[in-house]
C-alpha cells in the first residue's frame, strides 16, 4: 500500500486491474485504492510480471502493507521483489487467512522520488503512518471513518452484529482474538469506553461532498499535513502585486477566436509563469525528506483543487516544465475533473515538487499558503481584480493580482524568493503568452 502523502496511513483496496501473469510496465495502473482523497489509481514504477495478488478487494490496509508481488525481468517467481515500487514490497507475503502481513520495512511507503535518493520515510515523528508494533492494521482508529462495519476485519459473528447495531466500525476496534480478530467482548469494551466521536458518527450523518470522498477523513488528513508543515518547516512569506492587464488583453484576444472548449483561463497563464520562473530560482522546486533537501530536475506542479463544500486536494501536473499554455490548460482541466470525481493516480499525489494555490475570480486579494510537505515552496495567487495602478506615469484601472510565496527557510531565503516573484511578474508582462 503506497503512501499517497504524509497524511495517509491506510487505504482500502477496491479493485484489481491486473491478474497474476499479466505483464506490467512503468506506469501501468495496477489497482484502485480508496483513500480520503477519493479513489486513487495505483501505478507501478517498474516493469515485470504479476506473480501474486496478495491483498483482497475490500481490505483496508496500512501504508506499507503488501499488495502484490511483481517478478522483475530476469527473476523468477517471487524473486521479483525489488523494493522501490509502490505495489510490491520486499517482504514475502504471509497472508494469515487473508490478512495482511504487518510491515516492518524501513521505508515501504516512500513516495517515488524524482531521483534515486536513499529511501527516506516521511519524517515519521508523531504524525504519520506505520505503527512499529505488530498491531493488526485493521484495528487502527484511522480506518474507522472509512471502513464500513464488517468489512475485511476479522471478527466473530456476534461482534459484527453488535457493532452493526451500535453503528460503529469494526475497524475502529482493537481485536483481542486470534490474529487480532474482533470479538464480542472487544466490541462491548469499546462501547463501554465510549467510542470515539469519529467512529460513532453514522456514515449517513457525515458531511460528504460526493461519493468516494469522506470529508471528515479529508479534513483530518489536511490537518495532519498542515500540522506537520507548521511543525517542521520554518516558513517565510513574501508577496507582490502584479499587473495582469497585458496578460488579460492577450488572453481576451486569443479567446475571442476560440470556441469555449479551447479557451484559456488566466489560471493557466499564472501556472505557466510560475513554472517558468523556477528556472531562475530552481531551489524552490524539490522535496525536503528526512534531513535532506533534494532539488528536482523535473517540475511536478501541484495544483490546490478546492472541493465544493470544503476540502482540498493538491495533485501534481507531472513534468509541467515544457508545457505550453494550451497543454497546461488541458492538463489542468483534466486533473481538476479527476480530483473532483475522485480518480487520481498515486504519482500525481506523491510526486509534487511545488504547489500553486489560486483563489480564482471570486476570491479575496491575497492567499498566504502553508507549504505541502515535503515540498519547500507554495505559490498563492489572490483573485485578480481591477485596481488603481500607476501605468505609464498615470493612475489607471488595470487588472492586478497579488502573488505570495511561502517558502522553506531550510532551503532558501527571502532574497531568492523575491527574485522568484519578480520573475513571475516579469514573465506575465510579456505581451506574448508567458
Amino acid at each position: 500500500m503506497p503512501s499517497l502523502g504524509a497524511d495517509m496511513d491506510t487505504g482500502k483496496l477496491v479493485e484489481w486491474l491486473v491478474a497474476p501473469g499479466d505483464s506490467v510496465t512503468q506506469g501501468t495502473v495496477m489497482a484502485v485504492v480508496e483513500t480520503q482523497k477519493g479513489a486513487i489509481e495505483i501505478e507501478i514504477f517498474e516493469a515485470g510480471e504479476v506473480v501474486d495478488l496478495v491483498a483482497q478487494v475490500g481490505q483496508t490496509l496500512p501504508v506499507g502493507a503488501l499488495l502484490a508481488r511483481i517478478g522483475t525481468a530476469g527473476e523468477a517467481g517471487g524473486g521479483g521483489d525489488r523494493e522501490p515500487n509502490a505495489v510490491a514490497s520486499r517482504r514475502p507475503p504471509e497472508p494469515a487467512r487473508g490478512r495482511v502481513p504487518e510491515t516492518d520495512l524501513p521505508a515501504p511507503a516512500k513516495p517515488a522520488p524524482a531521483k534515486p535518493a536513499p529511501a527516506k520515510p516521511a519524517p515519521a515523528k508523531p504524525a504519520p503512518a506505520k505503527p512499529a508494533t505488530a498491531k493488526p492494521a485493521t484495528a487502527k482508529p484511522a480506518t474507522a471513518a472509512s471502513a464500513p462495519a464488517g468489512e475485511a476485519v476479522l471478527s466473530s459473528p456476534a461482534a459484527r452484529t453488535l457493532a452493526a447495531e451500535a453503528k460503529i466500525s469494526l475497524a475502529s476496534i482493537t481485536g483481542s482474538g486470534p490474529s487480532g480478530a474482533v470479538l464480542l467482548s472487544d466490541v462491548e469494551r469499546h462501547l463501554a469506553a465510549g467510542a470515539s466521536p469519529v467512529s460513532e458518527t453514522p456514515e449517513a450523518g457525515r458531511p460528504t461532498a460526493r461519493k468516494g470522498l469522506d470529508m471528515v477523513e479529508m479534513r483530518r488528513a489536511i490537518a495532519a499535513a498542515m500540522t506537520r508543515a507548521n511543525r517542521d518547516i520554518p516558513h517565510y512569506y513574501l508577496c507582490h502585486e502584479i499587473d495582469l492587464q497585458a496578460a488579460q488583453d492577450r488572453l481576451a484576444t486569443l479567446n475571442i477566436e476560440r470556441t469555449p472548449d479551447r479557451r484559456l483561463l488566466m489560471g493557466a497563464l499564472l501556472i505557466r509563469a510560475t513554472v517558468r520562473a523556477l528556472a531562475k530560482v530552481p531551489e524552490l522546486n524539490g522535496r525536503h525528506e528526512g534531513d535532506a533537501y533534494v532539488p528536482s530536475g523535473l517540475i511536478h506542479c501541484g495544483l490546490a483543487v478546492a472541493i465544493r463544500g470544503g476540502g482540498l486536494i493538491a495533485p501534481a501536473i507531472l513534468d509541467a516544465a515544457d508545457m505550453d499554455p494550451d497543454t497546461l490548460m488541458e492538463a489542468m482541466r483534466d486533473i481538476v475533473a479527476r480530483t473532483r470525481a475522485g480518480r487520481l493516480r498515486n504519482s500525481e499525489l506523491t510526486r509534487g515538487t511545488i504547489t500553486v494555490s489560486s483563489l480564482g475570480e471570486t476570491g479575496v486579494d491575497a492567499l498566504f499558503g502553508v507549504i505541502y510537505p515535503p515540498q519547500v515552496a507554495l505559490v498563492g495567487f489572490g483573485a485578480p481584480r481591477l485596481k488603481p495602478v500607476v501605468h505609464d506615469g498615470a493612475v489607471t484601472p488595470r487588472l492586478a493580482v497579488t502573488v505570495s510565496l511561502a517558502a522553506d527557510h531550510r532551503v532558501s531565503d527571502g532574497r531568492r524568493g523575491a527574485l522568484f516573484l519578480a520573475e513571475i511578474s516579469r514573465l506575465l508582462q510579456d505581451p506574448e503568452l508567458p
Binding site: 469555449p260 483561463l265 489560471g267 465544493r308 475533473a337 475570480e361 471570486t362
Partner: protein, 82 residues
C-alpha cells in the same frame, strides 16, 4: 424551445459539471460562482457544454449575462431567438 426546455437543459449541463449539486435545491437567482461554488474552470466547462447544446458562440464578454440560472436562461432564450 420553451423557457422550461432551456432551463431543463441548463440544469442538466450544470449537474454534469458539478455532480454534487442537488438539482432540487437550486434557486433561479443563485449566483453560479458565489452561491453554487463553481470556480472559473467549472464555469468554463459549463459554457463549453452550453455552447455545444445550444449551438451558441457565447463569447467571454457575455459571461456576466450568465451569472445566475435566471440570467442564463434569459440569455440563451434571447440568443437562440435572435
Amino acid at each position: 424551445m420553451t423557457r422550461n426546455d432551456i432551463l431543463a437543459g441548463l440544469v442538466a449541463e450544470l449537474i454534469d459539471v458539478a455532480p454534487d449539486l442537488d438539482p432540487a435545491a437550486l434557486g433561479e437567482n443563485d449566483h453560479l460562482q458565489d452561491d453554487l461554488g463553481l470556480d472559473s474552470m467549472d464555469f468554463l466547462n459549463l459554457i463549453s457544454r452550453l455552447h455545444k447544446r445550444f449551438g451558441l458562440p457565447i463569447p467571454e464578454s457575455d459571461y456576466p449575462r450568465l451569472a445566475t440560472l435566471a440570467k442564463a436562461v434569459a440569455y440563451l432564450e434571447k440568443e437562440q431567438a435572435g
